[in-house]
Symmetry: C3
Subunit: 256 residues, 3 copies
């Protein structure tokens, strides 16, 4: 049997809502280490890697490794029933074909029980090679979302350039072009822009993936963007003390 | 001639907006006792009974009983012109074919006059038998709306069970099922759940009617739900010191 | 070369958004005096006159008069990238086919550069005769918008009457009619209604133009409405210390 409890049901809701932007079905892996998920969008451009450590949950127990396949929209509908301060308990038998979800208010006067049917999801797990990214930017996630939305009016491709001077988002179309540059800040506070850039790199991405990924701003105040030549962009959101949600976005062939 | 005045025009707007969720034309009855309306939705599942006592108005006068038939969307358009703190005056001649509506700001620097054409509405008035409901719950109306909306994602039928343990809303579909239970609260304050249940009862209702009825949460902070075997559910909203708005919703044949 | 800078980029955004309600392409005239625009909507009912004085800008320089033709939706997309407290710099060469737009945050850590292609716009400039309006009302622009929106549910023509008693907006349809009257206020504060009316005048206007014009409430807290017989209604919004935005709306032939 698998059972885990998290005191902040809303946090799990935000994570699943964000994943659902890119994939419809989620294959959650349960192990002694915690809960994880890997998924790839239907056009193979975006890979999602969610890692939630067992130690970050308020309780976490499983007899043996399990796979929980969930239709994510269905799962979200249940998670949206969570009030502020509700705790969430997930429970599944092995073998079994359903996930029990319990939402409980802090003072215990509202208890919701849901049962969601599990589905089989065929998928292989990729081993993501550990790469060194020589250009890394940490920036406010709300600013990331705002810039991506602003540029969405101008073109469907966004260039991201990271250099010592900061991070620059650019777009180009027949009628207009734009560049939005954020300079690195000397301040250490999380709301500012921190830049590490060994040498300047520019890569291009399909805007619609960035729009989906940018919805992670509900999960964390800041996002880390990592770029290197010939490998995918990484967008990482910290999921409080549980782990993180990473998006790997394949670059477009460079435009000039 | 009929003329009545209410210092809170917004209250009347909220009541009419809520009625309009289920019926398109409203037949208001004017008598010495006040203003009332009875209506039944086109599929004969929901019956609406509005009672506004003459004594609750700031002034109320009628020479003789009258019937005022109004196209409710038209009436709402006018009522939506009411600002916060506007008073409203309704006026009609008998015989006559129009309703005069005056909205007036508190300091009298904004006066709006509207004329809405009256229509003939054929309808018989039902005498609603006074029944004893052995299961009654008073709960926050916003919570009622929230639960109904949450379950709307899961199924189109909602089970309502009232017992000593509280009130439970449930839904069931092929893919998932859910139960949301509110426990009775020992607190007396109106935001908590009060339960009277002689013996547990469960009945099933079409969700879309509950969704319409739940919009009454704009009228009052709390709603009273009454269930008994083989008779309609009653949802009652108090309309301040004027009276109340009651919805009678026929149950669906029980599912198992 | 032309270059001007304004410390409040949002103000320019609001002005252009409002103009775009009625015209798609804007022909901005640059001269030593400042920036101005005249445009007429496709059905020749509404004429727009924008006047922004050079002295109101934080810097303003041009070698010689120039015409800048802009596709306004494109221009708005760029202007919407302005954050609160961003400054804006416009720059164009003569001859040239593009406008450079720079948005800069207050503490200089976010700089956006945009280039928008200029277009040719054929248009003649009308000399608007200076008329004496014997009926003038200054009222809160939010109230103007609210009334126009309220009446939009009732009819597609609005009557505006100005008299010593105040300003009255009226509408009339088969099913209902309405009049909203604002009385003149003796208070001098800008949020109240000030009336000058030599003799009462009523004129009728197509509601959809008033709806567009009323969006100017984002630019200024108050609007000045001027009516006289046989000439267009003037709606004037002050653009802070830069100048003003005026709409001239041709009246409909009077209904009775």
């Amino acid at each position: 049997m698998f059972e885990c409890k998290l005191n902040d049901a809303q946090l799990l809701r935000k994570v699943v809502e964000c994943i659902r932007e890119l994939i419809k079905e989620g294959r959650f892996e349960v192990s002694q280490n915690g809960l994880s998920l890997q998924g790839i969008d239907s056009s193979f451009v975006a890979l999602i890697q969610l890692t939630l450590r067992a130690s970050g949950f308020d309780s976490f127990h499983t007899d043996k490794p399990m796979l929980l396949g969930l239709q994510l929209e269905q799962f979200c509908k249940v998670l949206r029933c969570a009030s502020l301060n509700d705790s969430i308990t997930l429970q599944a038998q092995d073998p079994g074909d359903k996930l029990n979800i319990t939402l409980q208010s802090k003072d215990d006067d509202r208890i919701s029980n849901f049962v969601v049917r599990l589905i089989d999801i065929d998928a292989e797990t990729f081993t993501i090679p550990s790469k060194t990214y020589n250009c890394v930017v940490k920036m406010p996630s709300s600013e990331f979302q705002r810039i991506v939305r602003e540029l969405s009016g101008l073109s469907d491709t966004v260039g991201i350039e990271i250099s010592q001077d900061g991070i620059t988002f650019s777009s180009d179309s027949h009628q207009s072009s734009g560049k939005i540059q954020l300079k690195p800040s000397t301040l250490e506070d999380g709301q500012k822009v921190q830049v590490k850039a060994e040498k300047p790199i520019t890569q291009f991405f399909a805007l619609r993936y960035l729009l989906s990924v940018a919805k992670g701003c509900t999960i964390s105040d800041s996002v880390v963007l990592m770029i290197a030549n010939d490998i995918p962009l990484v967008c990482e959101y910290k999921v409080e003390n549980l782990g993180n949600l990473r998006f790997y976005i394949a670059p477009k062939i460079e435009e000039d």
